[in-house]
């Protein structure tokens, strides 16, 4: 049944090679990765530091600097081959189909424009009532007049939640969230995830969530892909993920998770 639908994102043997000019060495950051994401799916890529998560995410909508990275393989978003598109066609996709939530919210907002001006640019003609609804569901206090503030006047946690609102307001079919919760504390992370999940259910969009937070991955995703050293180690359905696998690496991860998060000693 699921196979008959066209996936919103399809990645086929994607490799990203980093070329270092000074030492003239090349290194595969992302190595021959294939997966696909359907609409209404919450797909998580779980990986440790340096496993190539962010590079993978950037490469999906071609945000990597072309001179330093060589991308090969196939990326198809909504039937369009990303790697073959011109920059202007690519911008249409970046604007209308895909929203990206960056890890560092300070660098993803224009520092010299007020938050309100940056949010209202999103294509839905959002009124302030809708806006405060969004803000309330993320526990952002709307009386503070956040919309009139500049990014530097807000805390990282607030700004990150606003970037989730920004991502949702443009009504995308796919949200790519690159470690959005790394600067948030647990309760706010949970809230953040609920917010993305609610949008996903309401609009039928897909979410690609990239994280190293095992707990969030297990709690919210429908499928989990484990990334290790640039290789997609394995993909699991959520309900099977914590069961035992015949795999040393996964067992180590899961044991550590259980050690910290489960009460049984």
């Amino acid at each position: 049944m699921i196979e008959s639908k066209q996936p919103i994102l399809q990645v086929d043997s994607l490799s990203v090679k980093k070329c270092d000019d000074q030492t003239s060495t090349t290194k595969y950051i992302v190595d021959n990765i294939s997966f696909s994401i359907q609409l209404s799916e919450f797909f998580t890529i779980l990986g440790e530091n340096g496993s190539g998560k962010s590079t993978l995410a950037y490469s999906l909508i071609k945000l990597l600097k072309p001179s330093a990275f060589e991308i090969s393989g196939e990326i198809i978003i909504k039937g369009q081959r990303i790697l073959e598109l011109s920059e202007s066609n690519l911008n249409v996709i970046r604007k209308n189909e895909v929203s990206y939530i960056f890890q560092n919210p300070y660098s993803s907002f224009d520092p010299i424009r007020r938050i309100g001006n940056q949010l209202f640019n999103s294509k839905s003609g959002s009124s302030s009532e809708i806006m405060s609804e969004h803000f309330n569901s993320l526990k952002l206090n709307s009386d503070n007049n956040i919309l009139k503030k500049f990014p530097f006047q807000l805390s990282g946690g607030m700004l990150q939640r606003i970037s989730a609102v920004r991502a949702v307001l443009s009504n995308p079919k796919l949200i790519i969230a690159d470690e959005p919760t790394s600067a948030l504390d647990k309760p706010i992370s949970n809230l953040f995830m609920e917010y993305l999940l609610t949008y996903m259910k309401k609009s039928g969009a897909a979410v690609l969530f990239i994280t190293q937070d095992f707990d969030l991955a297990v709690k919210y995703s429908s499928r989990i892909g484990v990334l290790k050293d640039g290789v997609l180690h394995s993909i699991h359905n959520q309900n099977q993920f914590l069961k035992s696998h015949n795999d040393v690496y996964l067992e180590k991860l899961i044991n550590s998770y259980k050690y910290i998060y489960r009460t049984e000693k």
Partner: protein, 255 residues
Amino acid sequence: MILPEIKHILELRNISYTPPKVDLKQKENTDSLILNNISFGIEHGEIFGITGESGSGKTTLGRIICGLINQTSGEKVFFGEKFYGIHPDRSIQFLFQNYSASHDPSQKNRDALKEVFALKQPNSNFDEFAKRLLHKVKLNENVLELFPYELSGGQQQRLALAKILALNPKLIILDEPFASQDVTAQHELIDLLLDLNRTEKLTIICISHDLFILRKLCSRIMIMNHGQIVEILRSDELFTNPKRDYTKLLVRSFV
């Protein structure tokens, strides 16, 4: 009021903190009391957790204990003696959340460690000392010949920890040591800290927003909100028997 007791390695009495005024016009920030009348004691050899939401004042409290900033009012007592600012024996040490910034990028780890070594034991053998120290934090000796950037995040953190331990502290304060780490690294760090606590009789204050990790690591956990102590619980009570409504809410938002 908490009565003074000798078994406490550290005691805080009515600590309050208001940051110096930055906004000269003083339009809005009139009641910016970051810490409000904090009093508690830490027992010798325990691992004490401090938690709370972002902005609850937990890092500020840690910095005041170490003397990186000074309290506006109240007093700090260490082994029964009052002190102000940084403790004269350097017996209280602080591990920053941003540990990679505590390494000099232009210096090999050996030279950096030598500087710390010279502060405390100038007369003994450095190689032996370094070996013992790195063994404590479970680092391989070959890191001495590397530069900080050649280490992984976890290794950098351990090296920062080693530098602190080189000063023979009685109490160390760790500010969000588990942030931005994956579960396996968290697991290893928990084991390392438990080990240090047991073998070195080191008292540890761990500031973290992760209740699960604190439950695993600490003997007691203090919950803070808006610069005040909500309550102090034994770690086995945290999830099963929280007394205050705020704690219940906090715990519920985790599971």
